[in-house]
């Protein structure tokens, strides 16, 4: 560790340096000496985000996707499960712009209805992973010592099993599969990454002066964690969560593609891509549309994650 020079401290050390608070908590970088009223990390980030075209585009896209997922009937009047075998693998005709899949179902309507499974699994898994990983990581870092050792080893155990592999084994031993069980499978093996990020963030914050001050004033452990540490340590977790959301959607599609995720009674992009692979040579359009829809959705969440990271962690820019 480079020691700061003891004789002549650099001028900056006299001011509370934002970096002292934690890796990703540059509180009040919004030019405090100019206005005299420092903006919080969050309003600072929001200020940046509103002006970031990437954020606006991806946020609008995600909003649109959520509307499609919740109200698919707004966008198509065709039933995705109404299939006419005679139309199998035919190209686009008026009224059925994307054509028909192998079973003769309307691809456009299947693409619209497939959004629900992806978005639902993505949001469910991300919520679960942030809750499980966040709590475990925060407790490990806050209580340190034996608690940390035990919780960190438990995290390592789940981290040591590849995510896709673990999810497959879990789902295989489950008698039925739906959006909830698929989400649970991904969640169980997906939380360790959040736990590690959370642990690192809390460790970097918990030695800060304001924590000591709160303790001196007699605040309880829970209050210190909730009111002082978490708000300053949550930023990197939010970044990881946003980016992971896209990855979880890919994972759900991969599981359905392997025939081990959602059952064929649930319309999903991964399942449709799996169906399309058999007729790839004769009818590539059947594979194209669900793939493009899936990729755009993941891209939207990735772009959002990138924008959020830039806003919350200006150091990386």
């Amino acid at each position: 560790m480079p020691e700061p020079s003891p004789t002549k401290p650099p001028l900056q050390d006299l001011k509370p340096l934002p970096q002292d608070v934690g890796v990703a908590a540059p509180v009040g970088t919004g030019a405090p000496e100019r206005i005299g009223k420092p903006r919080s990390l969050w309003s600072d980030a929001w200020h940046d985000l509103r002006r970031n075209p990437t954020f606006i585009v991806s946020a609008l896209l995600i909003l649109f996707l959520i509307v499609v997922a919740v109200f698919p009937s707004l966008f198509t009047g065709t039933d995705p499960k109404f299939c006419v075998l005679a139309e199998s693998n035919k190209g686009g005709v008026p009224g059925h712009p994307f054509g028909f899949d192998r079973q003769g179902c309307d691809i456009y309507s299947r693409v619209i209805y497939g959004a629900r499974a992806s978005v639902a699994v993505g949001i469910l898994v991300t919520t679960g992973v942030v809750l499980i990983g966040g709590v475990i990581g925060a407790l490990a870092a806050f209580y340190a010592g034996a608690t940390d050792s035990v919780l960190s080893r438990v995290t390592d155990v789940f981290f040591a099993i590849p995510l896709l592999l673990g999810a497959i084994v879990f789902l295989q031993s489950f008698p039925f599969r739906n959006i909830l069980t698929v989400s649970a499978a991904i969640m169980i093996f997906g939380w360790p990454i959040v736990a590690r990020v959370m642990r690192g963030a809390v460790i970097s914050v918990k030695e800060a002066d304001f924590v000591t001050a709160a303790r001196a004033l007699g605040a309880s452990d829970m209050r210190i964690l909730r009111r002082h540490i978490l708000p300053n340590a949550i930023a990197p977790v939010i970044v990881v969560a946003t980016i992971s959301l896209g990855l979880f959607i890919v994972l759900e599609a991969t599981l359905s593609f392997l025939g081990i995720g959602l059952p064929s009674s649930t319309v999903s992009w991964g399942g449709d891509i799996n169906d399309a692979q058999s007729s790839l040579r004769s009818a590539p359009h059947v594979l194209l549309y669900p793939s493009v829809a899936l990729s755009i959705t993941v891209l939207a969440f990735m772009l959002l994650g990138d924008a959020v990271r830039d806003a919350l962690d200006p150091k990386l820019r």
Partner: protein, 308 residues
Amino acid sequence: MGTYVLRRLLQMIPVFFGATFLIFYLVLGMPGDPLASMCGERGCDPATAVALRAQFHIGEPLYIQYYEYMRGIVTFDFGETFSRRPVLEVMRDAFPITIRLAIVAFVIEICIGIPLGLIAGLRRGKFFDSGILMGTLLIISIPIFVVGFLMQYYLGIKLGWFRPTVSGEAPWNELLLPGIVLGTVSLAYIMRLTRTSVVENIHADYVRTAVAKGLPHRRVVTVHLLRNSMIPVVTYLGADIGALMGGAIVTERIFNIHGVGGTLYQAITRGEAPTVVSFVIILVIVYLIFNLLVDLLYAVLDPRIRYA
């Protein structure tokens, strides 16, 4: 250094047993008769059923089953598949193929990912940099099976540059296309990580010092800047080896490769417990060893890091 390695090795012990027990529990310990899920709808023939019951000590508590199974593994007795083939033999067939596949992917990741990431980092904000950032994001967003099908279709079938499927022996040249597919996503991550790390370090004091000393530009970039920027990249690469071996499930399925992923997937869907548990145990060991190696590499890359 010695004590650090020892401590890490000791920490690996509970992780190893925890991870293997977890898989063991998921495969054998879930409620219901494990034989029912193992043998599928037709049910086992009586001889297999008896053999399986004996092999896994079914009916006894799970921890005894686990203990007996692990005791067998110490003597390289990994059990038998449903067709009475030793799992060790299956592993001997499957692992070399996937190791070759992973090496192809790994070499592509390093040889393309790091240089492109470095160039992007050095030209931050320029056209090349934005192109890399956008392109990698696009690659990450397209699921690997879509990439696989597209490459198989265009490069393998339409243009005929590669064999679209891999034969049983899986020689190196046939594994080139699957290796590219397997490595694409990691390649994109490597580029982004290298770029971010280079951007962070480019204004570091030691880089300025090296420039001020009058060192040639080439040396500053390769020895001072790049070497110090490698830490996050090496971390990712280390974790990636385990993921490449286990995550080859999709790639191996598309290209019909009978490696670890293909065998494992078949075993899981059939409920062939000995194969699943044994393969996962090996994968966990691989993961643990490479993680340790990565941690030790840190000290080589960054002289400020010393292990007490």
